[in-house]
Point group: C2
Chain length 553, copies 2
């Protein structure tokens, strides 16, 4: 039993030293300007070589196509993204390590295969991908935002299944990204690596979390496709905070074997892995590759669903119906979020055969009561023990989620059963609530003309100032319901329009707390994201609808 | 609080009186011979009218076709099956009630629709179906094998979702069937209705359970298609005991909304509803109708999988590979079971491109340790309380499963979490065990040439003498793994061949107990069933393989 205050600091030093070694292996001398503006997203293009800047500006499919057609080598691509990732690390502290040796040798092998034509090319040929660090990489440390396991957990023998599938499809893992202490933060601070910041508001704001390293890295194009995880908003909140795309798929579609958490079916709220990308297309490419690998033969919790072709093109006979959830009746979103929703609705109204209706929330306060009771059914005991092992202190948001949350307490078996039944009943009721956006055809016994998807906020606001992301329900409700949810960027804060409302009345004390946090000048120019939500297993539909909207707006 | 010894007897009297009233409403005077032979399966044809005997001899699809083509009226069909069900009740005590008024009026309505051609016909047009009694019927009592809830539970306002789907497809629910105390028996005895017996060995043997009423009724053709439920063998054991077909589907394919149990996703081992029938075709018709109704829009736990067309026709390039699990290394099957397996294997060897390999069991003793720990995570507290409420005594097999089972105890949250993780790990390991029947293609990252299905015993023996069905693992292992499993009839016990082995060595004390129970004369002519098991969600494959085998043997 190692239990000294010194211990965690030593581990953190070792972790950071290991990270820095891998960065040094990239072998570039990056000169970051000493004085940085608040928004640092333009820095990489200024300090990179023209060639590396051009390569890293490409979209995922462009990279794959160019590499497959030998117009660019996988090695060049990987080198460019490694360099850009070094810059991203210097700007936002988003990495736990780079994998230059592994990535370059894989790239050389892929380039060789292309020359001798010995094997067919994978659908991700030559594409660098980044991976959140609690997803195992062979012979590398595996952690979960805590110091002790980084030190004591044996290094995995093999890559996690999701990484194996990506690699077999021709992708090259080049970077591993930060995650917060406990993994249960919607920001990204740990004692191992410190704080990951937002490239749009360096130092001042969080990248969001828990997949905050991915979001910061991808926003700076140190990666164009990465893998995050989400049990309460951890893909969508950082995606929105950093102006990129992120999909929380329905559970049991993306395999989790080889990550640092419990086995896939054992948790009352299922954590899912999902893609984050500079483009919507990146998310779809990832999901398609996952399904095509038929991972259900290896990980039996996965549902054998292929990635289905869905046609959502609206017509007079079959309009596209979208429900707008303006607010959840608990916390009113900040002005830029509501404006973004309103502007989107205005644009949607101009598309033929697209119908927009209001979607009222259904007991979102109860949703949080259920979800928060099921997140730490041991009352956080295991987490506290892991922290005690190395003596690492609880960070502000870990303390908040484990200790200050009324729902979080050690449950008895009876209490656990109670909350599981509440969960199932809430799922039934919400499904019926969704059905009621349509009409019941008695002869068929089916609801018709229900909304095809919901559009709603990702969070009450845009990126948060550090240690203030304490309202999860806009994202967590969809985890509880296991609905696919996609965060997508729609614009920026404009302090001249998004002025602070002078509110006297609030829906709840949480609403008031949230309102206090909004300051137009502070959030000026920060990215604004929204969330598109589908019914369970309608992952394909959600992506297809957003694709259609982006083409028609 | 009603807690007198008298109470449960009163409730049972009321329940039986209600049942008898509904039987009387059928309005036939059935003369059952006073002296019955052991095997009573020939009685119905002797006492029914020629017309009713002919109608009830038809297969499910024949009935649907004849009724749809107006060669027979739905009313005639329902009347014939009601009459035959009355006989079945007199022979085996398999009913909790008949629904003559509802069934006849539905039949008249269906016949009317056919005349005025006003609506299209459903795929089950005119087919009577029987329903296990814990599945709700509007305005009728809803129980679960216990006296108290029969009395105190409000009658449901609507049919269970599975019944709604069947009805909308044109089926007519005519009978409700018995189930045992606690529902957790592989036999069928309750204080409410007494003991359901096996039509092949009247009085002496159990129909099997818990869906024992369905099995006895269907074996006597008082129904040709029914709905049972299964969490440890409750569809397959009675199906095998009574010489019929029964499918335990993968979970979350058949909706359970409106039954008397907990919500669908809340239990650590999921109880499933599934079809029981006189024919394999009957099972497939049921599953097809369920998927076509897209019940996932109403019950969100259901996976949106259509009933898929699978082609398993073997060829030189793609042989059909079947694994034979001869025994589970814990309890050796009785001679008739092993002979049936051996004879089937001999026949399979003559079919071109069918390969038969031995499938070794994987830790089936551990499977039972996990499953039995997860069946009653409250240690049976809730069940004991329900029994105490009416003062009903614990029947022998209820006592055995709740009190004499080392796995059954009230778990703490930590213990529950431990067993849930054990469950997930066992699922992973078994999946890998199945993979290893094939070879790993490293380039594709996929296992190839794995077995397509397993064939194994349903239980150590055929039907059991009352109160002796105490070894569940041959069926329960597939519930733990959530693999689809199909019980199918293959023959009869022949005491001249299936002689008792003179064993001195046993695999376990359970093996010895089971061996002691076998007496060739006692089981002479009892039906022998086997079990076909597929991988998770391979329900279609399991049915397709058995269909192919039946056509080619």
């Amino acid at each position: 039993m190692r239990n000294s205050h010194k211990m965690w600091k030593q581990i953190a030093q070792e972790a950071q030293a290991l990270r820095d070694e891998t960065l040094a292996e990239v072998g570039v001398n990056i000169q970051i300007p000493a004085q940085l503006s608040r928004n640092v997203t333009d820095i990489p293009d200024k300090v990179l070589s023209a060639s590396s800047a051009r390569i890293t500006s490409l979209a995922p499919q462009e990279i794959i196509t160019l590499a497959s057609e030998r117009k660019i080598s996988a090695q060049e691509v990987v080198q460019a993204f490694l360099e850009r990732a070094v810059i991203a690390q210097n700007l936002t502290n988003c990495l736990t390590e780079l994998l230059p040796q592994r990535a370059i040798s894989q790239a050389i092998e892929l380039d060789g295969r292309l020359l001798d034509n010995s094997t067919s090319l994978g659908p991700l040929h030559g594409l660098p991908v980044s991976i959140k660090s609690h997803i195992g990489i062979a012979n590398r440390p595996l952690s979960s935002g805590y110091c002790a396991p980084f030190h004591s957990r044996p290094h995995p023998d093999a890559d996690a299944l999701v990484v194996q599938i990506l690699t077999r499809a021709g992708a090259i893992v080049h970077a591993r990204t930060t995650e917060p202490q406990s993994m249960m933060q919607l920001e990204c601070a740990s004692n191992l690596y410190g704080v990951t910041t937002n490239p749009y508001s360096n130092i001042l704001m969080s990248s969001g979390g828990s997949s905050g390293g991915e979001a910061a890295l991808i926003a700076l194009r140190g990666s164009v496709l990465g893998v995050g995880s989400d049990v309460g908003g951890s893909i969508r909140v950082p995606a929105a905070a950093c102006g990129i795309y992120g999909l929380k798929p329905t559970s049991f579609r993306v395999p989790t074997t080889g990550w640092s958490s419990t086995p896939p079916g054992a948790d009352p709220i299922v954590t899912v892995l999902g893609p984050m990308s500079v483009s919507l297309e990146g998310l779809e490419i990832f999901m398609r590759v996952m399904a095509a690998a038929e991972p259900w033969h290896i990980e039996p919790a996965i549902i054998p669903l292929s990635w289905r072709a869905v046609d959502i093109t609206p017509s007079r006979e079959k309009p596209l119906r979208l429900g707008i959830l303006w607010h959840d009746e608990v916390v009113k979103p900040h002005p830029p979020i509501t404006r973004a929703l309103r502007e989107l609705v205005d644009k949607l109204s101009n598309i033929p055969h697209v119908e927009v209706v209001n979607f009222p929330p259904y007991k979102h306060d109860e949703a949080w009561a259920i979800a928060s009771s099921l997140y730490f059914t041991d009352g956080g005991e295991a987490d506290l023990a892991v922290m005690a092992e190395s003596g690492e202190p609880l960070l502000s948001l870990t303390e908040w989620i484990i200790k200050d949350n009324p729902g979080v307490k050690k449950l008895s078996r009876d209490e656990l059963e109670y909350w599981l039944e509440e969960r199932e009943e809430f799922r039934m009721e919400y499904s019926q609530h969704w059905n009621k956006t349509g009409v019941f055809n008695k002869a068929l016994g089916a609801w018709e003309n229900t909304v095809d998807a919901i559009i709603c906020p990702v969070a009450p606001g845009v990126a948060t100032k550090h240690n203030t992301a304490k309202y999860w329900t806009y994202t967590a409700v969809w985890n509880l319901l296991d609905y696919p949810a996609l965060a997508f960027p729609v614009g920026k804060v404009d302090k001249t329009i998004d002025v602070k409302e002078n509110r006297k009345r609030f829906m709840s004390h949480l609403d008031k707390e949230s309102w206090k946090l909004y300051r137009p000048e502070l959030f000026q120019d920060m990215p604004v994201g929204l969330q598109m939500v589908g019914r369970r297993f309608d992952d394909e539909t959600v992506i297809a609808i957003l694709k259609f909207l982006e083409q028609n707006i």
